[in-house]
């Protein structure tokens, strides 16, 4: 029982990162009703970007955040203009397998370049440190990640709800034709949605690098977590993504502690399964 409080706190911290991961997927889905299977791979690219810049130039891992965000943004835009734009014209099957192909491509590209090994960062402001507070031990990487995830989440939330650009994005999400009559360049907005989705994943990846292994096949795990989170929160809902991210953090960490570490991700899939079968609109969906 004395494990409960620290586990819950650590789970909520992790949940903020899951919320950020889910946010990227929710933006893309909200704007154009397409599911991005390559989402987890964007995170993987973010992780490798952060890892490489941090080790090659031996700079502080947290300073790689903007670079990872930029790489993610460009990757998202490129995916839209070179692939997704054409996929949208095709049937459902082509849309699903198209982004699925992108996922497989990025995954094995990383495998090909970096090999299947697990890598970790060894130096950084946050790495390996923790703060003790009564019985609660908080590791710095998790704490820092949670805070920065929250900030990134807040910025993107502000961008979407309070700026002209965000309004245009929302208009495109609601009705593409009407938005284009109002003079909004919907094509650019869709590209932007992919860019934003990619950028959030770049940031999430760079943050995750501080306390998690970097390896090429990490994508599918986070992709499934993101799908489960977004399904739980309601596809396309940003508020839902946040709350569901926290819930997902609790499910994973409490499950890992009390049921067994082997099965904690099975719980994620089970959650997804139960949600889509019994409450397909999610917690905050329409």
């Amino acid at each position: 029982m004395e494990m409960l409080v620290p586990t819950i706190i650590s789970a909520l911290l992790m949940g903020m990162l899951f919320a950020l991961v889910a946010l990227g997927l929710a933006i893309i889905f909200g704007v154009m009703n397409i599911v991005n299977f390559a989402h987890g791979e964007f995170l993987m690219v973010g992780m490798y970007t952060a890892f490489l810049t941090a080790t090659v130039f031996s700079i502080e891992p947290l300073l790689t955040l903007p670079i990872a965000a930029m790489v993610g943004f460009l990757l998202g835009i490129a995916s839209y203009y070179f692939l997704v734009r054409y996929l949208l014209k095709g049937p459902m099957l082509a849309q699903l397998l198209g982004t699925f192909g992108l996922m497989i491509f990025l995954r094995y590209l990383a495998m090909c370049i970096f090999g299947p090994d697990y890598k970790t960062l060894e130096q950084g402001v946050l790495i390996g440190k923790s703060i003790k507070w009564g019985s609660v031990v908080l590791s710095y990487p998790r704490l820092g990640t949670a805070v920065l995830s929250l900030i990134a989440f807040g910025i993107i939330y502000w961008l979407i709800n309070r700026t002209r650009l965000g309004k245009a994005l929302q208009a495109t999400a609601l009705d593409v034709e009407a938005a284009s009559y109002m003079g909004i360049d919907t094509e650019r907005m869709r590209g932007l949605a992919w860019g934003l989705g990619g950028a959030t994943m770049g940031i999430a990846g760079a943050l995750l690098t501080n306390f998690y292994y970097v390896f090429p096949t990490i994508g599918i795990l986070f992709c499934m977590i993101a799908f489960a989170t977004v399904a739980l929160g309601g596809f396309g809902s940003i508020k839902g993504a946040f709350i569901a991210g926290l819930i997902m953090g609790l499910i994973i960490d409490l499950g890992g502690t009390y049921i067994g570490p082997h099965h904690k991700f099975a719980l994620v899939y089970l959650t997804y399964f139960l949600v889509v079968v019994f409450r397909p609109q999610g917690l905050f969906g329409w």
Partner: protein, 330 residues
């Protein structure tokens, strides 16, 4: 009688396709006599196994338009049933295979019954989720070998009951017979009531339902048939390799490979899965053998992924779609 006639008559197909089919049959029949290389023969058997998987997946993924990414678990369940029955109680292949197929089909039925309440991407993600759960379970389940897998005990002499032969030629012909049966089944299927119902659902589910088709039930039936194909393939895989583990028969990569292959060849067409397997399997094996020594991994998957991206962006009907376009232009 009608059923048999439908299955065996290819008369409604254009002459070119019938000639192509005849060449395919001749090629597969003569192959073991022309080539003596054991690697080539192994690739050929792989190709036949994947034809079987692909023909099955084409039912739900192609004709049914449902992106089910969980073929591997049906393959795995049947393969494990066959292997474990033989290891534990020494039950021969011919008795355990029907059981394995039944297990795979029941899994399909239960899963399909719940999952076909979902549509489109919800369904696709759910099938991935379920496959990952099974994969985890099989890797961590010590009773059935866990991550080490199951090895089949070898008999002293070649044994027909246990499908243990001295020469790969027997496996080749057995796999070829399975593929032929599958092709005949598909030939019947595309003219059958179920086939028409399934295609009508794919083109427009609302209209199909308004015509009195129970879409949910039709999809579940099609998914079960897909399970039968995968189960057969899994059972054969077990006796051919004499060894299975969760990474070779239960893994998501296998499901992905089957889906990509069918998509590249042309989902929803009679010959699509075979064309896809014809391109991907030799590419995969020879490229793997060629690159294997250099230590570069993943190039093969990158090539399929590129092909799939290009095909789904420009020609969602796959290579078969291109062939049909060329034919229509003439």
């Amino acid at each position: 009688m009608r059923t048999l006639r439908d299955a065996f008559s290819f008369g409604d197909l254009p002459l070119v396709e019938r000639i192509g089919f005849a060449i395919f049959i001749m090629f597969c029949t003569l192959f073991p006599w022309v080539t003596k290389g054991s690697f080539d023969q192994a690739v050929m058997i792989q190709f036949l196994i994947f034809c079987l998987y692909g023909l099955g997946w084409n039912l739900i993924g192609g004709y049914g338009g449902q992106v089910a990414l969980g073929q591997a678990k049906n393959v795995g369940m049947s393969a494990y049933t066959v292997a474990l029955l033989m290891v534990w109680w020494d039950i021969p292949f011919w008795l355990s295979t029907p059981l394995g197929v039944v297990v795979a089909t029941i899994e399909s039925f239960v899963l399909g019954y719940f999952l076909f309440r979902l549509r489109g991407h919800y369904f696709a993600i759910a099938t991935i989720a379920v496959s990952l759960v099974w994969q985890q379970l099989f890797i961590n389940w010590d009773l059935i070998g866990g991550a080490r897998g199951v090895e089949l005990p070898l008999k002293e002499t070649p044994n027909f009951l246990y499908m243990q032969f001295a020469s790969p030629i027997y496996y080749h012909y057995f796999a070829f017979l399975l593929v032929l049966a599958a092709i005949l089944y598909m030939n019947w299927f595309r003219k059958s009531r179920l086939g028409y119902q399934l295609r009508s659902i794919t083109s427009n589910e609302e209209v199909a339902e308004s015509l009195g088709i129970n879409a949910h039930w039709v999809k579940v039936k099609a998914y079960c048939i897909t399970g039968v194909f995968a189960g057969m393939g899994g059972a054969f895989y077990t006796v051919y390799y004499n060894y299975i583990d969760p990474f070779s028969v239960m893994h998501l990569e296998l499901s992905v490979m089957i889906a990509l292959m069918t998509m590249i060849g042309g989902a929803g067409s009679m010959w699509g899965p075979i064309i896809g397997a014809m391109i991907l399997i030799p590419l995969d094996r020879y490229l793997g053998a060629w690159l294997g020594g250099s230590g570069i991994i993943g190039v093969d998957f990158m090539i399929y992924a590129l092909m799939v991206m290009i095909i789904s962006a420009y020609e969602p009907k796959g290579i078969w779609g291109i062939i049909e376009k060329v034919r229509a232009r003439r």
